[in-house]
Assembly symmetry: C2
Homo-oligomer: 344 residues x 2
């Protein structure tokens, strides 16, 4: 057990001075090498510079440097389906195979008929409780939180992206991973606020982005505490607890962090309110919107940006043009022809 010990001040100061000297004499390396030197990169560099430079009028103390990222479409590829939705569908199919009678009723019926429009309609109609229940709750009802984690870990081992033929690790955006790392190096507390179920993304967040599970917040279902056994258990119900999308994002940020971020990044209408919560505050802020303009290396689309894209333009947020701003998209080159390295 380490006691609450303080090293000799003299030695500590000497070490710090040495490290400081070394940082000064070494050439500064570019923390964002996958970004082209255009307006988006410049606005990021300038923002971090201003809020971290002691004595700057825009200086923000480390404790208040909160950054929140959306996940799907912002940190990794979300097309043709969210990875999380792929997992849910696989679980539905497994259940239908074991018990074909399930396909007589929704949402199994829609899955059996490959009718994804069923889920999309619930989402677009903002049928919040049903969409959370159907997309998160129903197929995992009755599992403990540990069983849920185990099932999804197993699934993640073998799943491959249908077009790029890589596993989930091949889908992350290298430029955004660099940005997360750079913010952390500049003493930002970096969080993910995703519409995915937090319990799903937490399984891979550390590995993918260096963001620990407790900094990943998302949608959730209601749990039941069962103390009839040892160890005690948390058991999943099928009922919606929270949809972390639209205004749900700033509300959950306040509930969990209790501080307004000075940085946020998103890519769709579901991120609009989180970005609005950050944009136009009294301190220096940065709101980033990833715009999917890269048909060749990733995807090109504007669906679900009908509200957020005009807001970004009007509010002078920083729009990332994926095709123009990023030297490379993925950590491992995404091939459109042959199979990749996989994510298992």
């Amino acid at each position: 057990m380490k006691s609450c010990f303080r090293a000799s001040r003299v030695v500590a100061v000497a070490c710090c001075a040495l490290l400081f000297f070394l940082t000064k004499v070494r050439p500064q390396s570019d923390p964002l090498p996958s970004w082209n030197d255009r307006a988006a990169k410049q606005s990021i560099v300038e923002f971090i510079d201003k809020v971290t430079k002691s004595g700057s009028p825009d200086f923000v103390p480390p404790a208040d440097r909160i950054a929140t990222f959306d996940n799907d479409g912002t940190l990794w590829c979300e097309k043709p389906l969210y990875v999380h939705v792929e997992a849910v569908l696989a679980r539905y199919k497994e259940q239908i195979t074991a018990n074909p009678k399930l396909a007589e009723q929704e949402p199994y019926k829609a899955v059996a008929a490959k009718d994804l429009g069923y889920f999309m309609k619930l989402y677009e109609d903002k049928e919040i409780n049903t969409v959370v229940s159907d997309l998160i709750g129903v197929p995992f009802e009755g599992m403990t939180t540990e069983q849920f984690a185990d099932w999804n870990r197993q699934w993640l081992k073998t799943w491959k992206h249908p077009r790029f033929q890589v596993g989930y690790r091949g889908l992350i955006y290298q430029p955004m991973v660099e940005l997360v790392k750079c913010l952390k190096a500049n003493k930002f507390k970096v969080y993910i606020f995703t519409a995915d179920e937090a319990a799903f993304l937490r399984l891979v967040s550390e590995e993918l982005y260096g963001i620990p599970p407790e900094n990943v917040l998302g949608s959730s279902i209601k749990l039941k505490f069962d103390n009839s056994t040892e160890p005690t258990k948390l058991i999943r119900t099928k009922e919606a607890n929270y949809l972390n999308n639209w205004d749900g994002k700033p509300r959950l940020i306040e509930q969990v962090i209790g501080r307004r971020p000075i940085f946020a990044a998103g890519n769709s209408n579901g991120d609009l309110q989180m970005l609005q919560y950050v944009a136009k505050q009294d301190r220096r802020w940065l709101a980033l919107l990833v715009h999917h303009t890269d048909e060749k290396r990733e995807h090109k689309y504007d669906k679900h940006t009908e509200e957020v894209l005009p807001a970004a333009k009007k509010g002078n947020w920083t729009i990332i043009d994926m095709a123009e701003d990023w030297k490379q998209v993925s950590l491992q080159p995404i091939s459109t022809t042959g199979p990749g390295k996989g994510g298992g």
Copy 2:
């Protein structure tokens, strides 16, 4: 802007070796000086030793060292009333003074009549939505989150404990502050899970315990996102969002952290399930119960421990006998006769 820079390995290793050497030759200081050398202290020291010693069969990696503390009655004095409840009552009284007609209806009526039984009955009957609404929501309805913080900060400046005549800073338990510090020094991630509104306790958690706002989770009311102005606002409704008590604690731990703690500390039935969630798991764990046995220096009571105290005894949890285990209770000696230093 600091680049994502790595110092020369040689120098880093040399500095580490020097620091390591210094920690070895200096005598180890006692990290828990306010604790008498009895079973409770020994179980804490042994637990931390086992889970942090590399190579120990009970070793737990730092990322999984999660510790959760209750606040009222565990980290500071909760009698005669929670400080948080005192603030709420003050706000009710302010509203009644401004508009006496409010006293015609509940919960203002109960406050005007000094009938705290009204609130206690709601709590004991587990009327969750009403108790959260009445104790957190109603008197602050319509305020922005910033206005709520400002009002409570002002109130905290002048409030004094009715018996001890100290401000809120005089109410914290020195032995528990040492424990929090010691856990953090041993790379635990330390959280507070309180039945108080998180937005209240976050105003003082860093100052009192060195625990930042984002590590304080508690009860909450529903917020409304308002993007009609710049900056955008989160506005308080009077509706309950969450009561962080009883089974609500392990459920919120899972929702926010996503990992089962290996350490928890509480003092009342409201903490039972959080302690059960930690006790008897496959890894080494420690469940602490603060037992209020010290009429002279603090308070002596068993109300609201009818369930948790037998569970602690049966489960071999560590029971802290405040009168016997603590050399001193408070950071500043609590006087029962004269006024203290105050908390402003």
